[in-house]
């Protein structure tokens, strides 16, 4: 998997580059729009992370150019502008996802993985299994080992989301977006409370803890 980063800020660029390399991707970085476009047009990338404010050619026009040349490469937009209008503008220009600065690297990683997964057209599974935890998505039944677990709809949605991102840390914002479909931060601890309840149902009875909290970043579901 090869990823292109177009970001002019030296520090942000290098920490994203380093992080993605550690996550097992091959990464190229470009610091300006024209160069980024040239690299992207080679067609060797599985995803691109593109900043909006770039020298020589801005991010939106870069993405527009890619799309007008029928390049289907998944693109994540990085931007310091956080208003809904800006987000909509970015997505209309052809971006697949939009992340506001400052962002957590884990969130960027999770979003890239989700995009690549979606783009590769993997057939939706009818069941998910992580360790001894298995979920039947059609019947909406959950088993930890042999024990059946009952969940409320939101808890089920959260568990499904965590299992689809097994091993990847997801942020509170991502959970709010996927479980409640909210694009704003309601400034509350609703996510923490829901995770807490899910954890009580999944990880109780002294079993190994599967849902882990990564302080300051988010939550991750792992095989213990």
């Amino acid at each position: 998997m090869r990823i292109l980063i177009v970001e002019d800020d030296q520090k942000i660029g290098s920490f994203v580059l380093k992080g993605l390399k550690e996550a097992g991707f091959a990464v190229d970085r470009s610091a300006d729009g024209e160069d980024g476009l040239r690299l992207a047009l080679t067609g060797t990338y599985d995803a691109a992370v593109i900043d909006l404010m770039l020298p020589t050619r801005d991010g939106l026009s870069l993405i527009g150019e890619l799309r007008s040349r029928k390049m289907k490469i998944p693109v994540i937009i990085l931007s310091a502008k956080r208003s809904v209008d800006e987000r909509v503008k970015g997505l209309q220009a052809g971006g697949d996802d939009y992340l506001t600065k400052p962002f957590s690297f884990s969130e960027l990683l999770a979003r890239i993985q989700a995009l690549i997964r979606r783009a590769s057209g993997v057939v939706e599974p009818s069941s998910l299994t992580v360790g001894n935890l298995s979920v039947d998505l059609l019947r909406r039944e959950i088993f930890r080992g042999t024990k059946k677990i009952d969940l409320q709809p939101r808890e089920f949605a959260l568990l499904e989301y965590l299992m689809r991102n097994t091993g990847t840390v997801v942020s509170k914002t991502m959970i709010l977006e996927h479980v409640w479909d909210y694009s704003f931060d309601p400034q509350t601890n609703v996510v923490d409370v829901l995770v807490c309840r899910l954890r009580n149902k999944i990880d109780k009875d002294g079993a190994d803890k599967m849902i882990q909290t990564i302080r300051g970043v988010g939550y991750v579901l792992r095989v213990p």
Partner: protein, 471 residues
């Protein structure tokens, strides 16, 4: 310097005003004079004709009594006494041949021969004899005497021209004085009338130049439009000053409140760097840093949200919002937390109530109110969300059975970063209610807070149905 002043004066409105004034005055005086001149001159002409006819009758009588010698004698005696000075006397035969002729005294040479050509004195008793240079004219009345001789008396315009000349001279003298007077008075009046405007300019100038907005224009209680203008202007200045104060204060507050988490962040990082500690402690410190920086970010976002909504820089995405669905969404979001705290949440709302609004913003506002309600309601309490429809709009109510709001806090809860004593122990930024208020006001709505007895508080939000046409 004085040239510059003159230039500015010529461009000034008071100069134009006085010019208009003087022009108007001159024009109306001219019209008045013209009219008076016409009246006087026509009345003088009428007088002359009467005098001619009287003279004609006198001479006809004299002719009757003493025939031609009588007329001659009378004319001579009257000429020497000066009575006949402006008059012309002519006696002619039945065929209009001059028998006797006495011209008027003035040195105008009339062509009296022309009088002999006209013979129809019976049908046309008035003759208008012009001098060769056409400057003067004699009005002549004729009468046929009983023996068919013709008697004619004429009179020149000199007398009435003297009067009219005098009239004209008097008028010109008066008008000259009046023009000077009106220039003086007009300039004075214009300057006087524009004094409030000059006051405005003299106050506004320094404000724009220096940004010191404390200055006010002195108000003169005249009760006219200028007083209103001055009062309104002062009000605008006051409003701007209050806004600037508010911005400065909230910026100070923001700087202060950002300093606290920044200090903690810095402290944690510095302590971790200084000491030799096991790796887990580093992780701990880094996590602390992340959390603190998240809090800074959250506060920044919130402040930006509030100022965006307040300034209207981001347009509301107005759609038909089903209020019942909105309240149920908020309730659902807090379901888990409410259950954890054992608080009963109830939604009472007619299902088909619709109001135009920005769903995300309204959700954000309601979530903040709900968050507060649950935060400040002890276990076992209740929170009630309800909505009612009225003609002008809808009223949404958020009611809880919590600790309520201290009376001294009540007027200040909408201020940015204000936190009551009781709320300081709770998680929060003191920005939630400012955002709620900003969102409601952006929808042209209103929000009020009340304390409920015996405990709890109630927030009332009214949203107008007409917001669509307003924005």
């Amino acid at each position: 310097m004085s040239l510059e002043f003159l230039k500015r004066f010529r461009r000034s409105f008071s100069f134009r005003l006085s010019i208009y004034f003087v022009t108007g005055f001159l024009l109306s005086s001219m019209i008045l004079f013209g009219f008076a001149y016409f009246l006087v001159s026509s009345s003088l002409q009428k007088n002359d004709k009467t005098a001619i006819q009287l003279k004609l009758k006198e001479y006809a009588d004299e002719y009757q009594n003493n025939a031609i010698p009588g007329v001659k004698t009378k004319a001579e005696s009257e000429t020497s006494s000066g009575v006949l000075r402006p008059f012309m006397v002519r006696l002619a035969s039945p065929h209009n041949q001059t028998i006797f002729m006495k011209p008027p005294a003035e040195g105008v040479n009339y062509d009296f021969k022309r009088l002999e050509q006209g013979t129809d004195v019976d049908s046309n008793p008035w003759i208008h004899l012009q001098s060769p240079d056409e400057d003067d004219a004699l009005d002549i009345a004729s009468v046929r005497l009983p023996d068919h001789n013709i008697l004619q008396i004429g009179k020149g315009p000199e007398d009435r021209e003297d009067v009219l000349d005098q009239f004209q001279n008097t008028f010109l003298t008066v008008i000259f004085g009046m023009v000077i007077l009106s220039v003086v008075v007009g300039t004075f009046l214009a300057r006087q009338a524009l004094r409030p405007v000059r006051g405005l300019i003299s106050v506004l100038g320094p404000i724009i130049d220096t940004g010191k907005i404390k200055a006010r224009i002195p108000v003169r209680p005249t009760g006219d439009e200028f007083e209103e203008l001055t009062v309104r202007f002062n009000q605008a200045l006051e409003k701007i000053e209050a806004l600037m104060e508010g911005m400065r204060a909230s910026l100070d507050n923001a700087a202060h409140d950002l300093r606290t988490p920044m200090t903690r962040l810095r402290g944690v990082a510095e302590m971790a760097l200084k000491s030799e500690v096991p790796p887990e402690r580093y992780r701990e410190a880094l996590s602390d840093c992340l959390e603190e920086s998240d809090q800074v970010l959250q506060m920044l976002n919130m402040l930006m949200d509030i100022s965006e909504v307040e300034a209207g820089s981001v347009r509301l995405d107005l759609r038909e919002i089903n209020v019942s669905a909105l309240l149920n969404d908020v309730c659902e979001l807090y379901n888990c937390i409410a259950e954890e705290k054992n608080i009963a949440v109830q939604v009472i709302c007619p299902t088909d109530t619709v109001v135009p609004g920005d769903r995300n913003r309204l959700l954000q506002a309601m979530a903040n109110l709900m968050d507060n309600a649950i935060k400040y309601t002890p276990a076992g309490g209740t929170v009630e969300l309800s909505a009612n429809e009225f003609d002008e709009g809808i009223v949404i109510e958020v009611k809880d059975s919590g600790i309520g709001i201290a009376a001294e806090d009540l007027p200040r809860i909408w201020d940015r970063l204000y936190r009551g004593d009781k709320s300081r122990t709770q998680r929060g930024l003191g920005l939630g209610l400012s955002l709620v208020k900003a969102v409601v006001q952006a929808h042209r709505g209103n929000i009020k807070a009340f304390n409920e007895s015996p405990h709890g508080c109630r927030f009332l939000i009214s949203l107008p149905v007409g917001v669509r046409t307003l924005s």
